[in-house]
C-alpha cells in the first residue's frame, strides 16, 4: 500500500514539475536562459520516464529515459548553444506577447486541460488520468510558446517541450507499445530541425532566424 502511494506521489510530483518548468520557459527572454531551462525540462522528463519504467516494471522505458537524458538534456541544448553563438543571436529574444499575458494564457490552458482531461477520464486509473492532464498541459504550453515567439530557435524549443509532453503521455499510458520507437522517431525529427537551423546559416541564405524576416521570401510578396 505504502509502495503504491509513494509511486503515485513521485510520479505526480515529477509530472507536476514538468508543467512548472514549462511555465518557467514561457517568461525566459534570453536564449541562453531558455536553453538552460529546456535542459532542465528534459532532465525532469528523464526522471519521470525513469520512474515510470521502475514503477511499471517496464525495462524498455529506460531506453526512452536515457534518450531524454543524453539526447535532449545534453546534446541538443549544447548544440543549440553553439548555434546561437555562431549566429550571434544570444541577445534578448522578442516575444509577440508580453510575459504577463503569456503567463495568464498559460494558466488558462492548464486549467482547460485539467477540466477536459479530468472530466473525460473519470473512469481511468488516477495515475494515468493525472499524468495525461499534466501531459496535455505541457503540450498546450509548448504550442503557446511556439505562437508567442518569433525567433526560430525559441520556436524549436517550444516544439521540443511540446514533444516532451507527448512522451510523458505515452509513458503514462501503462503498457503502451512502440513508446521507444516513437521517442526515437521524435529524436530523429528534432535532430533534423536542429540541423535545419544550422543549414540555414551555413548556406548563408538567411541573415536572420527571425521568422518575420523569413516571410519576406514568400512567393507572392513582391
Amino acid at each position: 500500500m505504502l509502495r503504491g502511494n509513494l509511486s503515485f506521489d513521485v510520479a505526480h510530483l515529477l509530472a507536476g514539475s514538468l508543467v512548472l518548468v514549462s511555465f518557467m520557459q514561457l517568461y525566459q527572454d534570453r536564449l541562453y536562459a531558455l536553453l538552460n531551462v529546456y535542459a532542465l525540462h528534459a532532465l525532469v522528463l528523464a526522471a519521470s520516464v525513469g520512474w515510470q519504467a521502475f514503477v511499471q516494471d517496464a525495462p524498455h522505458l529506460y531506453v526512452t529515459a536515457v534518450i531524454a537524458l543524453v539526447f535532449k538534456a545534453i546534446i541538443i541544448p549544447a548544440a543549440l548553444h553553439r548555434i546561437i553563438v555562431r549566429l550571434g543571436i544570444h541577445r534578448e529574444i522578442e516575444t509577440v506577447v508580453g510575459a504577463g499575458p503569456t503567463m495568464l494564457l498559460g494558466m488558462g490552458l492548464v486549467a482547460l486541460s485539467m477540466v477536459v482531461m479530468l472530466r473525460v477520464t473519470a473512469e481511468a486509473d488516477p495515475l494515468a488520468r493525472e499524468d495525461l492532464a499534466f501531459a496535455l498541459s505541457v503540450v498546450l504550453l509548448g504550442l503557446l510558446m511556439m505562437v508567442t515567439r518569433r525567433n526560430a530557435v525559441s520556436q524549436v524549443v517550444g516544439f521540443m517541450s511540446l514533444e516532451n509532453g507527448l512522451v510523458l503521455a505515452a509513458t503514462g499510458a501503462k503498457g503502451m507499445p512502440l513508446v521507444v520507437e516513437i521517442s526515437v522517431a521524435f529524436s530523429v525529427l528534432i535532430a533534423f530541425i536542429v540541423v535545419g537551423i544550422f543549414l540555414f546559416r551555413i548556406r548563408e541564405r538567411f541573415d536572420t532566424v527571425d521568422i518575420q524576416a523569413l516571410d519576406r521570401f514568400r512567393g507572392e510578396r513582391q
Partner: protein
C-alpha cells in the same frame, strides 16, 4: 515467399537503397520508373490474391483502393519525373548528387505512404505518416533557394505540430482501448480496435478524435491548418507537388477515415461527421476565394487542392452510402486530374522559366500540346461535364441536397466560385498574346494524357466492377 502485401513495402524500400547507391541520372531515373511500376503491379495483384492480415499489416477493401491509386499515380509521376529531372539537370538547377538523393527519397516516400496505408497498428501508421512528412520536407527544400528553404521550414514546423497532435490522439485511443482489450500491442491493432470499439469509453474517444482531426487534418490541408500547403507545393520540384496533392493528402485522409469508422462503431461517442462537414466546407469556400489572388501557377493549383480536399472531407463527413461513394470517386478523380495538371504545369514552368502567371501567356499557340493539356486538366478540375469530377461533384451536391439543402447550396457556391477563379487565370495562361520564351518542351506527355483519359472515361462510363467495388467500400465507411 513474399506475398503481395509485403511486396508493396519491400520493392520501394529495396529500390531506395539501390537508387541511393547508384550514380548517373539516366539509369536511376529508369530504375525509379521500373520500381514504381513493379510496386503498382504488385499492388494491383491484391485484387486477385488475398493475403492474410497480420498484427502489423492489414489489407481490406478500403485500403486496397488507396494502395492501388497511390502506386498508380506514383508510377505515372515517376515517368513524368524522369523527363522533368532531365531538364533540371540540363539547366543546372539540380546537381547529379541531389538527383541521386531525390530518387532515393522518392522511393522512401512511396514506402512510407504504402506503409501508412497497410499498417494494422495505429502507432505504426503514425510513424509512417511522420516518415512521409520528413521525406517530403527534404524534397521540398531540395532547390536550396530562399523560397524553397522557407517553404520547407514552414511545412516542417506546421507538419510537426500536426503530427504531434495526432500522436496525442493516438495515445488517447490506446488509453480508451486498454481497459477493454488489455495492455500491449493488441490495444493498438486496427482489427482488434474495430471489433471492440463499442465498449470503449466514449468520452476518451471523443477527445482523441478532436486531436486526430486537428493533427491529421493539418496534413490533409484543411483550413485553417493549411498554411504549409501552398508554399510546399510551389517551391519544391513539380513531381513532388503532384505526389503531395495527388497522394500524400489522401494518405492523411485515409487515417482520418479509419478513426471516423472507429468512432462510428461506438454508439455513445460523438458523431464525427458534422465536424468534418464544417471543416470541409470552410476549406472549400476559403480556398475558392483565395484562387482569385494567385500570381503563381503552382500556388494556384495548391489552393485548388485545398478546395477539393474540402469537398472530399465534406462528402465523407455527410456519410451514407451515396455521399461516401461520391467522396471516394471524387478523391480518385482529384488525384488523377491534379497530378495531370501538375505534369503539365511542370513542363510549362520549365519552358517559360518562371512560375509567375503574368509572365506566361498564349500557351495554346506556342506549345499546343502542353497548352491544350492544361486546358483539359483545368476543365476537368473545375468540374465541367462530361469529365469525372463533374460526376463526383454532382453526386456530392445532389446527395447533400436531398438531406441538407443549405449545406448543398454553400458547397455549390464554393465550387462555382472556384470555377470562376480557375478560368480567369486559365484565360491568361492558355490564350491571348504569347508571352515569355516559346521554346519547344521536351516532355513526356503520356502520363498527363493517360490520367486525363481515365478521368474522361470515368465521366462517361464507369465499369461495373469498379462501381461495385466503390459501393462496397462506401458501405464499409458507414
Amino acid at each position: 515467399m513474399i506475398d503481395a502485401l509485403a511486396g508493396v513495402l519491400v520493392i520501394p524500400a529495396a529500390a531506395a537503397v539501390l537508387l541511393a547507391a547508384l550514380p548517373g541520372y539516366r539509369l536511376t531515373a529508369r530504375l525509379n520508373v521500373l520500381a514504381a511500376l513493379l510496386t503498382f503491379v504488385t499492388a494491383s495483384s491484391l485484387f486477385v490474391v488475398h493475403p492474410e492480415s497480420g498484427t502489423y499489416l492489414l489489407v481490406d477493401d478500403l485500403n486496397k483502393v488507396f494502395i492501388v491509386l497511390t502506386t498508380f499515380v506514383g508510377f505515372t509521376t515517376s515517368v513524368f519525373s524522369a523527363s522533368y529531372i532531365g531538364h533540371e539537370i540540363e539547366i543546372g538547377r539540380l546537381t547529379p548528387r541531389f538527383v541521386r538523393f531525390y530518387h532515393a527519397m522518392y522511393q522512401v516516400l512511396m514506402f512510407a505512404m504504402n506503409l501508412a496505408l497497410v499498417a494494422n497498428n495505429i502507432g505504426l501508421m503514425w510513424v509512417a505518416i511522420e516518415m512521409a512528412t520528413l521525406t517530403t520536407v527534404l524534397m521540398v527544400g531540395i532547390y536550396r533557394t530562399h523560397e524553397a528553404l522557407e517553404a520547407a521550414w514552414k511545412y516542417f514546423i506546421l507538419g510537426s505540430v500536426g503530427i504531434a497532435l495526432a500522436l496525442f490522439g493516438t495515445i488517447l485511443i490506446y488509453m480508451a482501448a486498454r481497459p477493454v482489450i488489455g495492455e500491449g500491442v493488441d490495444a493498438m491493432v486496427w482489427s482488434a480496435l474495430m471489433s471492440r470499439a463499442a465498449q470503449f469509453d466514449p468520452a476518451l474517444l471523443n477527445l482523441a478524435f478532436i486531436f486526430l482531426l486537428l493533427g491529421y487534418g493539418t496534413k490533409v490541408g484543411l483550413a485553417p491548418l493549411h498554411a504549409w500547403l501552398p508554399d510546399a507545393h510551389a517551391e519544391g520540384p513539380t513531381p513532388i507537388s503532384a505526389v503531395l496533392s495527388g497522394l500524400l493528402l489522401n494518405v492523411a485522409l485515409y487515417a482520418l477515415l479509419r478513426f471516423k469508422m472507429l468512432l462510428a462503431l461506438n454508439p455513445e461517442a460523438i458523431a464525427p461527421g458534422p465536424l468534418m462537414v464544417i471543416m470541409g466546407l470552410i476549406s472549400c469556400l476559403f480556398a475558392a476565394f483565395m484562387l482569385y489572388r494567385r500570381r503563381d501557377i503552382k500556388r494556384m493549383f495548391a489552393y485548388s487542392s485545398i478546395e477539393h480536399m474540402g469537398i472530399i472531407v465534406f462528402a465523407f463527413g455527410m456519410g451514407g452510402a451515396l455521399a461516401n461513394f461520391a467522396g471516394l470517386l471524387h478523391m480518385t478523380m482529384h488525384s488523377l486530374t491534379k497530378s495531370a495538371i501538375f505534369f503539365a504545369v511542370g513542363h510549362i514552368a520549365q519552358v517559360k522559366g518562371t512560375q509567375k502567371i503574368a509572365d506566361m501567356g498564349g500557351l495554346t499557340v506556342t506549345n499546343p500540346v502542353l497548352g491544350w493539356g492544361l486546358v483539359l486538366g483545368v476543365v476537368a478540375i473545375a468540374g465541367l461535364p462530361p469529365l469525372g469530377i463533374f460526376m463526383s461533384e454532382f453526386l456530392v451536391v445532389s446527395s447533400t441536397f436531398a438531406r441538407e439543402p443549405w449545406l448543398a447550396i454553400i458547397l455549390a457556391l464554393g465550387i462555382l466560385v472556384a470555377l470562376g477563379g480557375l478560368f480567369l487565370r486559365l484565360n491568361t495562361i492558355a490564350f491571348g498574346e504569347p508571352r515569355g520564351p516559346t521554346a519547344k518542351a521536351e516532355a513526356s506527355y503520356v502520363p498527363m494524357f493517360a490520367h486525363l483519359a481515365l478521368v474522361f472515361m470515368a465521366g462517361i462510363y464507369m465499369p461495373a466492377p469498379l462501381v461495385k467495388g466503390f459501393e462496397n467500400v462506401a458501405r464499409l465507411l458507414g
